[in-house]
Amino acid sequence: MHKSRIVITGVGLTSPNGNTLEEYRKNLLAGVAGVQIIDMRYMGKVPAGVCDFDPKKYQTRKELRVGTRAGSIAVYSAHEAINDSGLDFENFDKSRIGVYVGTTEHGNVETENEVYNISKFDYDIRFWTHHHNPRTVANNPAGEITINMGITGPHYTIGAACAAGNAGLIQALQMLRLGEVDVALAGGVSESIRSFGIFAGFKSQGALGTHETDPNKTSRPFDKTRNGIVVSEGGAIYVLERLEDAQARGANIVAEIVGYRINSDAGDYVLPDPVRQSECMRAALKVAGMEPGDVDIVNTHATSTPMGDIQECKAIREVFADCPTTYVNNTKSFIGHAMGAAGALELAGNLPSFQDNIIHPTINVEDLDPECALPNLVINEPLKVDAVKVILNNSFGMLGINSALIVRKFED
């Protein structure tokens, strides 16, 4: 079967430290994190990554009242991606656009809000909103994009725990190759900071990060004192096209997706398996026709949990032994864990390396854990290298879902 080459031609995002790729990248190179303390129902004060994009830029006030935060993040990111792509959206056949949005979970926020709401009315369900179901159906964030933008092609979300951002991109790539659509809007979103249950669940699991003095130091993967995750919201949506279509319209090609793999640990519900993770990375490399040493940046999934970071480092050590020009970094140290958006958002933060040949660091490492001491870990300061041509983006999730996505600087 002939496989079309699939390229990224637009990026739109909102992250806790930037509402455009330019602003986000600038902060990743300047060491500027984006975590703050919020008041969470039943939890009290907790660190979280909060986005401050203007939702009214692309939505009416009514849409904002009726829809969800995940939908709003998705709509904002999708518009920004289309604008960035230079696609003549107005005149494009909207039935040939597909929307594939990764989510870790969806609906918890809206259901929690309604339970809280009826608690104020003595649990009388007459006060349960009729908006509950359209807000909580799993396709909501992708569907809100289609309603807002008049897209009549397929839309759905890809539920893949915290591997969802990569999974959204992989789904889009496959649909483009099958010829189901001509343009895909794909990536991942997260509204998780609005669910107390997510915070409470991590806390019960002993995996909710804390820091005594500085919220921006809470997410500290690979540091000896790391103690858990910072939950964040955010989104990154990409415009993907077949190479021939992108070239025919003279698009600016940001990168090419050359390899990918999703596999399963088939083991523990939460503890990752480094053997399966390394198998996942190797399988993605095989699809790309590459050797480990061809990779310039491995962007880790590491979430700042004591065990998870060690497991991923074991996997990376196994795959990338003897790769002197392969560097390793982490984006969650800046923005926390943007859950369903994580994979897509973290990839976006690294794409500009194809132009500036700078690798953004992992920050907040004051005392490197020897078990996480990978040879080429870029710590605290950005690193300039001769050339960045290949990025491998890891994203893993609960129930043992692993994903690795490989993108290459575009060369015809």
Binding site: T60, K62, V66, T129
Partner: protein
């Protein structure tokens, strides 16, 4: 409570649930749907807000009574005054 006061209550609710609409000049005799961008979910919101804010219950069979400000006032005023 007068019919005009009831109309104002309904207008205030519409301003909340349809915040993009201009509610300063609603014609009372014309159907709300014919002069504003309101859908069936919005009418359910009006019913919900009457319940939440004013403890007024509108049974489903009576939803057509909410078609215009005039019909709202005629239908709801006795309920407000009950």
């Amino acid at each position: 409570m007068t019919e005009d006061q009831v109309k104002q209550i309904v207008v205030d609710i519409i301003a909340e649930i349809a915040p993009d609409e201009d509610t300063s000049n609603i014609k009372p005799e014309i159907k709300l749907r014919d002069q504003m961008d309101l859908d069936s979910m919005d009418f359910l919101d009006i019913v919900m807000e009457l319940r939440k804010q004013h403890n007024i219950e509108v049974p489903e069979a009576d939803y057509p009574q909410l078609a215009s400000l005039d019909t709202c006032a005629a239908y709801l005023t006795p309920k407000f005054n009950a």
